[in-house]
C-alpha cells in the first residue's frame, strides 16, 4: 500500500496516479463492506439471541422441544429439516444439472443451445413464492396422488418411504428446492465446462477415446473443482430458502427417517413465527435459530471445501 502511496508523490513523469489510487481504495472499501456486513449481521443476531443463549446454552442445539407457551426452546428438528431437505435437493438436482450442462456444452446442436439456456435462466428468475404457490396447488397434489403411492409400493420396505403421507412433507420441500437450485447449478456448470480448453478434448479424441470417454476423462475430471463449486452455490441457496419450503414442508417439527413426514427448517420457523413473537425469550430463540442457520451454512460450506481439497486434490487454479 505504501509503495503506491509514495508513487503518487514521487512520480517523476509528473503524471498523477491519484485516480488509480482512489479507484483501488474505493474497490477495497467495497470489498470490505461484505465482511463488515456479515460481521454486523452475526453480531446483531447474537445480540438478539442473548436471552435464549443465556438460558438454554448448548442445550438449544440438541433439544427437540419448541414450546412458546412455556418458553422452552430447542432447534434440533429444524437443523435436521434444513440438512435433510437440502440433501434431497442436491440428490435430485446435481445429476440433472450436470447432465444438462454436459449436454449443452458437449452434445447439443447449436440451434438448440440458446433456447435451452434461455429457459434455464428463466427458471432461475421465477420468484420462490411463485414456485411455492405452484408447488402447493399443483405439484404436491400430483405427487400425493401419483408419485408417492408408487414410491411407497416400490420402496416401502425402506424406512424412508414409510409412515402417513399428507402431501406437504420433507420430500415435497426437497423436490421444490431441487427445482430452485437446478438453474444455478446448471448455469455455473455450463460456464465451467465451456472454459475447459478445446485442446483437452482434442487430445483425448486423438487417443481414440469415445465421446463418453472424452467427456468423462478430459472434461468432467478437468472441471471437477469448478463443478463442486457450482454444487456448493446451489447448496447455499437450498439451505437458506424460506418461502417455498414453508409452503410445502408441512411445518411440524420432526426427526426421523420418513421423507413423507411433515418437517420444518430453520428458515421456515423464522418466517412462520417471527411476526407474533412478542416475548423477549421467544424472539430471542428465533434470533438464535437465525444464528444457527448462519452457522450451519458456514459449517456446511467449510466441510464441502475440506472435502474438495481431500478428494479433488489441492489444485490452486480452478478453471473459471
Amino acid at each position: 500500500m505504501n509503495v503506491t502511496g509514495n508513487n503518487v508523490k514521487k512520480n517523476s513523469s509528473g503524471v498523477s496516479h491519484f485516480g488509480d489510487d482512489a479507484f483501488k481504495w474505493l474497490t477495497l472499501l467495497m470489498a470490505c463492506s461484505v465482511f463488515v456486513l456479515i460481521a454486523l449481521i452475526g453480531f446483531e443476531l447474537f445480540n438478539g439471541a442473548r436471552p435464549s443463549i443465556h438460558k438454554f446454552g448448548f442445550h438449544f442445539l440438541i433439544s427437540s422441544s419448541w414450546d412458546p407457551v412455556n418458553d422452552v426452546f430447542g432447534a434440533l428438528p429444524y437443523i435436521f429439516g434444513t440438512l435433510v431437505t437440502s440433501f434431497i435437493a442436491l440428490l435430485i438436482a446435481v445429476p440433472l444439472s450436470i447432465a444438462t450442462a454436459v449436454f449443452l456444452t458437449e452434445l447439443a446442436p447449436l440451434w438448440l443451445r440458446q433456447p435451452l439456456i434461455m429457459f434455464i435462466e428463466l427458471l432461475a428468475a421465477i420468484p420462490s413464492v411463485i414456485l411455492g404457490f405452484w408447488g402447493f396447488y399443483v405439484m404436491v397434489p400430483w405427487l400425493h396422488d401419483h408419485v408417492y403411492p408408487f414410491l411407497r409400493s416400490g420402496g416401502g420396505f425402506l424406512p424412508f418411504f414409510q409412515g402417513p403421507d399428507h402431501g406437504p412433507c420433507i420430500l415435497s420441500a426437497g423436490i421444490i428446492l431441487a427445482v430452485m437450485i437446478i438453474p444455478i447449478i446448471t448455469s455455473v456448470s455450463r460456464e465451467i465446462l465451456r472454459s475447459v480448453p478445446g485442446l483437452q478434448r482434442e487430445a483425448a479424441y486423438a487417443l481414440g477415446a469415445t465421446r463418453w470417454e472424452v467427456t468423462r476423462i478430459a472434461v468432467l475430471s478437468y472441471a471437477k473443482r469448478g463443478l463442486f463449486g457450482a454444487v456448493i452455490l446451489g447448496l447455499g441457496r437450498a439451505l437458506g430458502e424460506t418461502m417455498a419450503v414453508t409452503m410445502l414442508i408441512g411445518n411440524a417439527p420432526y426427526i426421523g427417517a420418513s421423507v413423507f413426514a411433515a418437517g420444518q427448517t430453520l428458515a421456515s420457523v423464522i418466517a412462520n413465527e417471527f411476526t407474533e413473537a412478542t416475548d423477549p425469550m421467544y424472539s430471542g430463540a428465533l434470533f438464535e435459530v437465525g444464528l444457527v442457520l448462519l452457522g450451519v451454512t458456514l459449517l456446511v460450506n467449510a466441510l464441502a471445501r475440506l472435502l474438495l481439497v481431500t478428494f479433488a486434490g489441492p489444485r490452486m487454479k480452478p478453471q473459471n
Binding site: S65, W66, D67, P68, V69, N70, F136, Y137, V140, P141, P164, H166, G167, P168, T246, M247, G250, N251, A252, P253, Y254, A261, A262, Q264, S268, A271, N272, E273, F274, T275, E276, A277, T278, Y282
Partner: protein, 355 residues
C-alpha cells in the same frame, strides 16, 4: 435491443399505474406523505393484527366522508409486532388479536387502553367425501388435535352425528404454522373446555402442537387451501376464508348444549353474553347463551390513555366512529358487529382519553 426494451418499459409503467391506482383506492396502504404535510391534514399511523386489516381498509375509506382531513396508514404486520411498535411509540395505535399481558403492559411508558373493534368466529373446516354437515363439540375437537381421535368413523364423532355416513378415513388435523390470533382463539377455546388440552398444550398465539399429529400451514389462506386439498383434513380459520373457499364448516356445540354455526349473528350473541371486565381484556370463548358460537374472539385497538402526539383528538373521534357507525360495515366482511351495550361501554372508556 431497443425494440425488446420498449415493451418491457411500457409493461412496467402499466403495472405501476395499475398498482398505484389500487393503492389510492385503499388508504390503508397508501403512505401519502405529501398529503399529511399539507395544512390541516393529519396522518395517523397504526400497525398490528392482520385479522383487522380488511376492517381498517374499509373504515379508513368510509371515514373520509366523516373527516376528510385525517389520513391513515395501517401496517398489518402481526399482533405481536403491533404491540411492540406501540410500546416503542413508533405508531399512534396498535391492533392485536390477543389482549396484552400484564408483563408487557408493565414495560409501557403510559397506561394502555384496550378497545375491542371487531369480533369474529373461527370456523372448523373439513374435507370429507360428499361433505356432510357435521356437528362437533369441544372434547371431540381436542381429541382430534391431541391425536386420541384419529379416524372419521370414531364413535365419539358418530355419537354427535347420528344419521351421517362417516367414512373410514384418517383425520389429518391442520393448524396454523405461523403465530396467529386465530390460533390463540382456537387454543383458548380448547383450554377452556378440555382438561387434557389445558394440562398439556395450553393457549397462545403459537403453541407446541402434539408431536407427529397433522401438519401446519402458513396463514388462514394456507390452512383453508390445505384442508380443501386433503381428503380427511380438518382445520380452523376465520369464517371469511371458509366462505371464500367454499369449504364446509361444522356446527359447534355451545355451553348451552346447542349446535351453532359461526355466522356473525351467533358471534354477536356470544359477545352479548360474554363477561367483559372494565379493562376490556376478555375472552369470549364458550360464552353462555342459546345462540352463542363458542369459538370466537375479539380484536383490540391499543392506544395510550394519555395522548401526547397531538393526534389524540382525531384518533379518539375515529375510534368512536368505528365502534358505532363503523360496525354497520362489519357483516359484509364476515365480522360480527359489537352489541349496543358493549358499544356504550367502550364510548365511556374512550371518554377517559386525555389529549
Amino acid at each position: 435491443m431497443k425494440k425488446t426494451i420498449l415493451p418491457i418499459i411500457a409493461a412496467t409503467i402499466a403495472i405501476c399505474a395499475v398498482s398505484c391506482s389500487k393503492q389510492s383506492a385503499s388508504p390503508a396502504e397508501s403512505t401519502n406523505s405529501t398529503a399529511s404535510s399539507a395544512p390541516g391534514q393529519m396522518l395517523i399511523n397504526g400497525a398490528g393484527s392482520t385479522f383487522d386489516d380488511p376492517a381498517f381498509a374499509k373504515w379508513f375509506e368510509a371515514y373520509k366522508a366523516v373527516n376528510p382531513n385525517v389520513q391513515f396508514n395501517y401496517q398489518p404486520i402481526g399482533s405481536g409486532a403491533g404491540q411492540k411498535q406501540l410500546l416503542n411509540q413508533t405508531v399512534d395505535f396498535g391492533a392485536s388479536d390477543a389482549p396484552m399481558s400484564d408483563d408487557s403492559m408493565a414495560g409501557a411508558p403510559g397506561k394502555i387502553l384496550h378497545v375491542p373493534v371487531v369480533a369474529g368466529g373461527v370456523a372448523i373446516i373439513y374435507n370429507l367425501p360428499d361433505n356432510p354437515q357435521l356437528k362437533l363439540d369441544g372434547d371431540t375437537l381436542a381429541g382430534i388435535y391431541l391425536g386420541t381421535i384419529t379416524n372419521w368413523n370414531d364413535s365419539k364423532i358418530a355419537a354427535l352425528n347420528a344419521g351421517v355416513n362417516l367414512p373410514n378415513l384418517p383425520i389429518v388435523p391442520v393448524h396454523r404454522s405461523d403465530g396467529s390470533g386465530t390460533t390463540f382463539i382456537f387454543t383458548d377455546y380448547l383450554t377452556t373446555v378440555n382438561d387434557a388440552w389445558a394440562n398439556s398444550v395450553k393457549k397462545g398465539t403459537a403453541v407446541q402442537w402434539p408431536a407427529g399429529i397433522g401438519i401446519g400451514a402458513k396463514g388462514s389462506a394456507g390452512v383453508a387451501g390445505q384442508v380443501r386439498q386433503l381428503s380427511g383434513g380438518i382445520g380452523y380459520a376465520e369464517l371469511a376464508y371458509a366462505d371464500q373457499n367454499k369449504i364446509p364448516y361444522a356446527n359447534m356445540k355451545n355451553a348451552a348444549g346447542n349446535f351453532v354455526s359461526p355466522a356473525p349473528d351467533s358471534v354477536t350473541a356470544a359477545l352479548a353474553t360474554a363477561k367483559i371486565p372494565d379493562d376490556f381484556r376478555f375472552s369470549m370463548v364458550n360464552a353462555s347463551g342459546d345462540k352463542s358460537y363458542p369459538i370466537a374472539g375479539a380484536s383490540w385497538v391499543l392506544i395510550y390513555q394519555q395522548q401526547k402526539t397531538g393526534k389524540g383528538k382525531e384518533l379518539t373521534a375515529f375510534l368512536k366512529w368505528a365502534i358505532t357507525d363503523g360496525q354497520k360495515l362489519s357483516p359484509s366482511l364476515d365480522y360480527a358487529p359489537l352489541p349496543d351495550e358493549v358499544q356504550q361501554r367502550e364510548l365511556k372508556l374512550l371518554d377517559t382519553v386525555t389529549y
